[in-house]
Every structure is written in C-alpha cells, then in structure tokens.
Symmetry: D2
Subunit: 339 residues, 4 copies
C-alpha cells in the first residue's frame, strides 16, 4: 500500500494516520521528497484501504503489489517528467540525446565536443572524470579539475553536464558542476551511494548492473526515491551473457518491461550495450522503437585516439547521421503509436 500525503501535513495529523495504520498492523515508512510526502506500508494486506483514504491529510491511496512501490506504475500511471530550470525536460514526448566522450581527456576535446553538440542542438553532454578501470595501472580520469572546465564550457553553451559519480565522497565536490549524476553499472547496487544521491535534488541516471535483474534495477531506483529524490532515469546498458561476439548483450526486452512496470523515464546506452561502433546506430534506432525516451552515445573527434572505449565510439561524421536518424525515428514512432 502507498499513501500520498498532503505535502504540508501537520505533525498531529500525520501522527493520527500512524496510529490508525499501527492499529491495523501496518508499519509504515515515511518518504519525503521535494515534491511530495508518501507512506509506504509493507506487510499486512487484508485491510479495507478505503478506510484510510478518508483520514485527514491523505491525498490518495493505492494498492501497490510490486515490491518496489514508489517507482511502480501501479500508483502513478503517468510517465514521470524531469524538468530543469531552463525549461529543458526529459519526457516521453521528446527524444533526449546524451553524447560525449567516455573520458574527459583535456580542455580542447571538451571545446570541440561542445561545439559539435551545439551545432546539432544536442542538450546533454556526458563525460567521465572518475573512471572505473579494470587495471589499477590504467588512466583513472582527470577528477574534479577536469569536471570544472568540462562544466564551464557546457554551461556557457546551454548544455547540461552528465558525469559518473563512483563514491559518496565525490557527491559534494561534483554537485556544483553537474546537472545529472550518472551511476555506473558497477555501482548499480552500491546502496550507500544510492542513499546519498537520494538526498540530493539533481537527477540521477542509473545504469542497470551488468548482471542485474530488472527487479534489482527497480530496487536500486527505489533506494534513491525512498531517500527523497524522484528524478531518476533508468538506463539499459547491456548485460553479461555467454555470447562473446559483442562487448555486452544489450537487452532491449528491458525497455517494454520497464515501461510497463515503472513510471520513470528509460534511456538506452548502445555504446556500452553492444560495444561495436557499426552496431551502435541500429541498436539505438531499435531501442527507440522498443520504447526508449533517450539514448547515451559515446562520441570522439578521433575514436582511435580516445583514452578509453574507442572501439565503440562514433566520430562526429557518424554521430551527425545518427542524431538525424534518431530524431526521425522518434517522430515516426510518435505518429505510428497514435494511429
């Protein structure tokens, strides 16, 4: 059961609701986000919930059988939209394209990428400044100094900054410079990190664990929401299977499934998903038709020189074509679905 409370419910009114719920055997958890207040009730199922709906301070009340209640579509039928101060929005009506290099390498690279994105009207730039690498001897990112110039160039050009946070201690220093915190696949179940990101007011782009089930994925989103942050984007990025013909096996089945079960926006990351440059565009277009709201694609002025992940990275020429085809595909989908 999920109870939507009045945002400014007086303490005594809330106390009264607790008493009633306790009387009927429920042990509610209070969730307070920037937008709203909720009570999550696990456990007993048999009570007549209409009774609670009449209590003062209760806006609405829903039976939610899904384990991960706040992110479930069972209480929130409408798709969640994420709005930024300048009017940019992430929503089902629009295609969100996020592009940029795997790693931020130097200022010149950022300048050229920002220029490319601006020319092509792409509103979000991704770039790693803390890199999880499979060897301790590899390049591990420029850190906060890199983020500063990355952020400065983006903001001077109206572009939002998306960057991966790997650690609770990085949230505070990154906060000022990012617009969207990205959580990588290796941290998809780092619950301490999710807890702390739930206490910020910036959107979180949460990647699926490389062997994460969709139930675990939704549970990770629930962690963020339950700590107070409703601005969550679910991102499919490929899972680990027996097949070794590609880097990962991008699981597009996840898109209609998540669309069905959750109200959160869904992105796809075909660059990591399939991990082979020539297959990135077909997988990106396929993910739109499967129902995705946005895509993350790695681009680089000269992929063979990229510090990391060059084999899955598009150059600017390829990226331009892919942007155009993605936009046409989204237009086509919108028309097709209303017929």
């Amino acid at each position: 059961m999920l109870i939507q409370l009045e945002k400014s419910i007086p303490a005594q009114m809330l106390d009264n609701i607790y008493k009633e719920l306790n009387h009927y055997g429920f042990k509610p958890s209070l969730v307070e986000t920037l937008q709203a207040k909720y009570l999550i009730c696990n456990g007993k199922k048999e009570a007549d919930i209409r009774h609670f709906g009449n209590l003062p301070g209760v806006l609405d009340i829903h039976i939610v059988e899904d384990a991960n209640k706040l992110v479930s579509r069972q209480w929130k039928v409408q798709d969640t939209r994420i709005l930024f101060d300048d009017g940019t929005k992430i929503s089902r009506d629009d295609l969100t394209i996020v592009m940029g290099p795997c790693s931020v390498e130097n200022e010149e690279q950022v300048v050229k990428t920002v220029e490319f994105l601006k020319e092509n009207n792409v509103k979000f730039m991704r770039g790693g400044i803390f890199k999880p690498r499979s060897s301790p001897y590899s390049f591990r990112g420029l850190g906060i100094e890199g983020l500063k110039f990355f952020s400065a160039h983006c903001r001077a050009n109206g572009i939002k900054v998306v960057s991966e946070v790997m650690q609770v201690s990085q949230i505070e220093p990154m906060y000022e410079y990012v617009d969207v915190f990205q959580v990588g696949t290796r941290n998809s179940q780092n619950y301490n990190l999710l807890d702390e990101l739930g206490k910020t007011d910036k959107p979180v782009l949460l990647k699926r664990g490389m062997s994460g089930t969709l139930q675990e994925f939704l549970a990770s989103a629930e962690y963020i929401f339950a700590n107070g942050n409703e601005k969550i984007i679910l991102c499919e990025r490929g899972i680990r299977t027996f097949e070794k013909a590609y880097r990962n096996t991008m699981d597009l089945n996840a898109i209609p499934y998540l669309r069905d079960k959750s109200h959160l926006p869904i992105f796809s990351d075909p660059s990591h998903g399939v991990g082979i440059r020539n297959y990135v565009e077909p997988m990106a277009l396929a993910s739109i038709m499967a129902g995705a709201d946005g895509v993350l694609i790695e681009i680089h002025e000269c992929p063979p020189k990229a510090f990391s992940d060059g084999d899955q990275t598009l150059d600017f020429y390829q990226a331009r074509r892919t942007i155009r085809r993605l936009r046409e595909t989204m237009e086509f989908r919108k028309k097709l679905m209303v017929q």
Copy 2:
C-alpha cells in the same frame, strides 16, 4: 579460400584444379548446390591465390577468413534472396511476415487463421505439427495428418507453409506439404538433421540455439549450405540468460552482427524471443530497425485457449495492428537508410 566453379565444369578440368590445390598443400571440399559449385579450402593460407584464379573452370576466387565460409559475406557481398515458384520472395527489399499458431490444433483453427492472413495479405503461415514439449505427458502435435489439411488450406489461398521438422525421418513425409522447413532451437545443432535438410531444395528457417553463440549459429547454417542447399534463413529467437522477467532474452544485437557477417536473410521471432504478449509488438518493431528482413509471430483466434504458448500469442485484433505497424516501420526504414 573459397573458389566459385563453373556450374557445369567438366570432370577433367575439376581434376586439374584439385591437382594444383594439392600441390600447394590445400585439401579442398567440393560443395555442389542447385545454383552453383564451390571448392572450400581450409588450411594453408600463404599461397598466391591469383594463380588459382586463372585455372580453367574457375569463375572467381576469394580469401574468406571466417570459419564458416559459404555463409560469409566475405565472398558474397549481396544479400541472398529466396525465390518461390509463384514469384513470392524473401529478400532485403521486402518485409516477410510469418504468422500462425504455435500448434496446429484442428481444421477450423486453420481455416480461420488462413482467412485472417489472406485478408491481411500475409503470405506465410507457421504452425507446429510436431511439438517438442518439456513433458512426455503433454500434447505433442497432430503429426502428418494435421499437416495435410494445414497445407491444403494454405495452398488453396496462396499462402506458404512453414512448419518445424524435428527428425531426419520426418523430412520425407513432410516434404510434399511444406514450403519452408523450420528447425527449432533444440535442434539448432542437430547436425544429422541439418545435413539432410541440406540435400533438399526447400528453404530452411534455422532458429538460433537457446544458448547458441553466433559462431555456432553460422556453423549450423554452413552445414546446410555445404550439403547443397543455399536457401537458408537465420532466425533470432531469444537466448537463455540470468534474467527471468521474460521467457527468453531476445538478443537484437545478433541482427546487425549477422547482417555484417553473413549474406543470408535474417528473421526475428519476438513471440518466443520475449515471450510476453504485450512486449511482442515493440520487440518486433525494434527488430526491424535493427535490420531484420522478416518476423515470425504467433497468433491465435483465442490465445487463452491455445494448446501451447498462449501467453506470448496475439489475437487477431492485435495482430492486425502489428502487421500495419510492421509494414509502416519497414517503409520508414527503407527511406531512412537511403538518406
């Protein structure tokens, strides 16, 4: 190395080519199909292949590094088309839709399905008459008697028959009644069956093994081709992964990969691929954008009453909408890709 020979090469000329190849250390395998003759040379790589190209009886000669040479795009850049006597074709230019029930249940069901397909101009009907079931106590199909009326109704209405063959001994009795032999996922590496289907002149729709790598999939196709049958359709139908939210994990990554590596037509089977009715259409549309040439979709007048696989089966109302959307998506793809 793959050598294309003149179809009617005289024995002595062929003998001469063998001698030359043996002299250079190659041990060629001769493949003779209805369309052409080939020599497949494994082993030594270092010879100057231009020398062989000048031998009488040789049409062309190609370095093919792929293990599965006949099905490789390294020697045959153009997409393979499969033509039927009445002019129907399976090709990259057209969308092939194959629809029908999981199991053929009775004549009335066939009549109604044929009627539906005819109304909607669908040219291929699928239907199982031998069913691989996970329990020996389950319904195992109507057998050849079912195939007879299934085939009769289809042919009276200009519809081609697609049905699964499970066993070498079934090829001969089925031959007269089917237009396309389907090989199911459990038989994807049944090499005796593939050998024998390679000796027929009917197209083979080969499903990927449920845990088959793409290299194994292409090897299975190579078996059919090497026995003389060039008419092969590769069909992605979902693989087995840790994720249990769906019946299988449909692997759309396979589509751009197979398109890149092989000249054979590629179908997708979203009904088995994702295995949940409401996700079949988005996965079908996605597979078109990923590059598929055709789709197999299970339909039934009343899915809850289907003998098998009802949960993944569309009713006629849903199927009608999906057919329309698939066709519009293929038209859209064709336009998008030439821009």
Copy 3:
C-alpha cells in the same frame, strides 16, 4: 500421483482402475518398463489417494508433486542400481570410472587403451564413433565400422562399451555393439531420440544440455523412463555461462540437487566440464565429495595427437594417478558419511 501396478496385472483389473481414476477426474498414462508397470496421473490433486491403493492390481501409490514423476525420489527413496549380465553394476556403493578417447581413431589406439584400462581394472570404455563437430569440414567419426573393432576389443577384455548415439537411425546398427548408449549435450532435448532409447533395454547415459536447467534435464530422463527404460544415468558435463576462463562451467551444485530430487545414478564429466587438463583431476575429486557415483574422463596415449579435444585429455600416466586418487576419495567418502 504415481501408481505402481502389479507387473502382470490382468487387462480387466487394469480397466477397472482406469474407470475409477476417470470417475475421479484423472487421466492416467500407462508406463510399462521391463521391470514394472506404472500409472502416471497428472491433473486433479484433491482425491483421497488411499481409496485407489485398495484397488486390486495396485502395489503401491504415491503423491508425487514433482513434474517429472518417474525419475523422482518422492516415490522411490532407494538409489537406482543398474546391473549388467556379467554382474557389473552401477550403484551408489561403487565408483564407476568410464575412460577413453574423445574419438575412436584407429584400431591400434583402441588396443592400447583397452590394455591400459584392463591393467587398471577400469570396467567401462568411452569412445565416439559419431562426432558432433562445430564445422562440417571436420572429422566426423569412423562410424559403425569403428564401433565394431572398438566393441570387439572391449568385450574380449571384459570391458563395457559406452558410445554416443546422435540419431534415431543409429540406434539399431549400434545396438549390438554398445553396452551403454550415451546421449550428448546437443541432443539432451532431442525428444524423438529419447523416446526411441526408452524402447531399448540398454542403459542410457544422458548428458545435461549445455544450457539445460535441471528441471529440463529431469524431464529428458522422464521421456526415457516413460517409454519403458528405467536404466538411466544423469551426467553433469558443464554449462554455458559468461565465464570464458574454461571451456564450460562445470556445475557441481547439480550433484547434491539431483541426488536430492531423483533416485537415478549421477555421473560427472570433468573433461568437458572444465575442459582444461590440469583442472580435470581436482574437479573429478570434488565431484565425488559432492556426491557423484561415477566419472567420465577422456584419456589418450598422446593427447597432443588426439583428433579432437586434446587439451582436456589426460595421458596414461596422469590417468593412472587420477584413478588411484578417485578410488581413495570414494573410500574416504563412504567412511566419512557413516560417521
């Protein structure tokens, strides 16, 4: 529900049992093996089964909730033993060692291997004469001619012949020369083959499918049993996972699970299971401690010259040590388990 019938139950008595069962809504399947007669009742669960137990001709009656009833331990608590005419037995009390080459290559190889096995008192020799190969251009086995001399040398030395059957049509020509039919991983769900092997009176060593769940594995065994053959050996041989450090991932968890759920003997095949020579012995010893009754191990006088699978094959020196350690480990296990 599983009903054990008197082996020589008169037709009328059986008819009477059918009537009673039908009256209560059951649709029984009659299974007749060389040893016994059974009725398998799926469907309704609610009847008081004691009533049926009193019917004439009924020996015993069991509630069996497992889907695969005949192979379930729910009705047969004691481990199944397989006896051969000469007194050799496969049973929980003894360690069965099956050794031999992947492929039978020539008569000299068979002579040397038989000699080695005899010296070491190993009672079963494996050897492939029909080989499923991943390329149509690879060596595919010597066929029946190879089986003839393989069998002759074994039998002259009191050794039993274990060889893979890939096809229904091979059962009859192989029958005379083999003592145990092996079903390979690719045919683990070839139900036509399982049906026909169920009609023979020779033991069947059934390998788990490379991506077969344990429920599917037991269902395949049920197919054999339901067709009349109770002599079935379950063999774990490695599954397909994301890990590529070994050929397959040998799943020892399967051994206590199958021991718990089924009364059939359980073997392990560490040669295919892990697929790396130096890890074969530790995995073989581990499988004994996990509860296996027997092991299949590939050996060759000179593994680097083996036609197939040389990398996972032990030479005779290594095999001698492994045989000794396996026997000591089984002795140790027997003592440990009774304390």
Copy 4:
C-alpha cells in the same frame, strides 16, 4: 615485468633504476607494501631483462605476462600465508573455517555463537553489521554499535572478527574492531573501496563479483595489492547463471584456476554459493577437494528466526558435523596429494 626491490632502497638508487627503465621505454609503477617494494612495468616487452637484474637495489626480476602482475603466480611460486599477531595463520597447510550469522542481530546471539565456535575450536567468526539489502525497507544491520559487542566477545575468546565493509567511510570506524575486512560481491569492483583497503594493514577477504570473470576478480585483488596490502584472500561465492534451482551457481572450477594463476589463499562460501542448507556441506567438502584453503559458512542457533538468509544457514548441530567432516577431508587431501 615485475621487479622486486630492496625494501630500504635509497632514493638515488631507485632513481637510477627509473632512468634505466625509461631509457628502454618502460613506464614503471612503484608499489610499496608493508613487506616489500616492487616496480610494475607494463608496455614494452622486448628488452633483455637480465640487464635490469644487475642494477643495484634490485632483488629479483620476473617476466610476468599476466595482466595482474602482483597477484600472479608467475613471479611468486609459493603460496601466500597470512599471519596474525597471535600466531593464527591462513595458509595452504591449514584449513581455515569462518562461521557465524549472516547478520549480527543482538548480543545474546553473539555470545551463543562465540561459545559454539570456541567449543569447536573455530578461530574466525563472520557477522554482518552493514547489510546490503535488495529493498530499502529491509533491516540494514546494527552498524558500529553492533560491531563493538561482536568484537568484544570474539576477542575475549581468542576468535578473529570478519565483517563486511561497504563504503570507504566505514573503514576507519570499523578498523579497531575487525581482524579481516570482507568485501562483498556487490563491491567486488568498487575500486575506490579497494584502493583504500589497500592502504590498511588488515587482511581483506575479497568476494568474487556475482557476474565477475576471474580476470576481473584478480584485477580487483591487484588493486588492493598495488595500494600496499599483500594480505588478500580470494573467495568464490557463486555466480549468476540461467539455472534457478539454487540461489547462485557455485563455480568450483574457479578454485583450481585461481590456484594455478595466483599465489593468494582461496576460500569458498558454499552458503551463498549454492544457497540451500542441505547442499552446503557437500559443496563445502567438494571445494576442499577442488583445492580451497578455507570456507565461510553461515550458522545460526535457529535458522528460521535469522533476520536474513535463513534458508542457507546451518544450525549448530549441523555445523558441528560439517566442521568435523571438513577437517577430516582436509587431512585426507593432504595425505592424498603427497602420494
């Protein structure tokens, strides 16, 4: 290439080595642990390494082709032993048994468990005080307060404390109370955490990621070592596969593989590995025969009342039997392997 340096090498001597290495195109990374100093050289391979071996300050020099050099057996043939101040050791010669509850629940539970362990001469107790849970509404552990009494009772009885650390910020408050830091499967690639644990002087029990390849596992260990901590224990705990008959698929193949590739001690965790109580003992015994040096097993006075993971937990009666059988199996293995 890995260069072992004199522990107290003067700065100038080190500088000289750097110059020589740079001259030959190497870019060395200096690693300093409590025990030793190393230079790790990636990149160029062609130099004659004997030359470097003669430089003052160099103890020894090794070609190490493995990507993860410090943890590789290619330079360190002998098994690593971990010694504690009181003489307790983790080594190939001894069986290390670690037992305790999944979660520390209350002081009484700790007291009873410590008593049981002491009676049975078990030297290590495990117990979670920070719990990664799949729902934000579940019990998440007692935290540092729980650790304090857990630690006090253990130390009063000569038992070492093993507890999971989930976050960099937990290292410092936990440090005083634990003897071994455990890194859970979800944090197996949390490189920031591994970096920081590498800077402590306490042993780290590192669990394999639930979908971690063995190369990734060794890379994670390399992170800890490269930051200065040589006391690392590798622990196999089950991987995620398609099989759902058990909680995870315990991968015993990893044990001979890791033994072969690394000098670090190897433990197994059958409680999480197979996750079903009755299969824990056979899998534990099997892991010893596969080559494990120690086991982690969850125990609880009353498993059905455990806060978490009760289904995989042994009660004290079962644990007593398993301890005895484990010790006898280790004795047996030691004798068997020297014959």
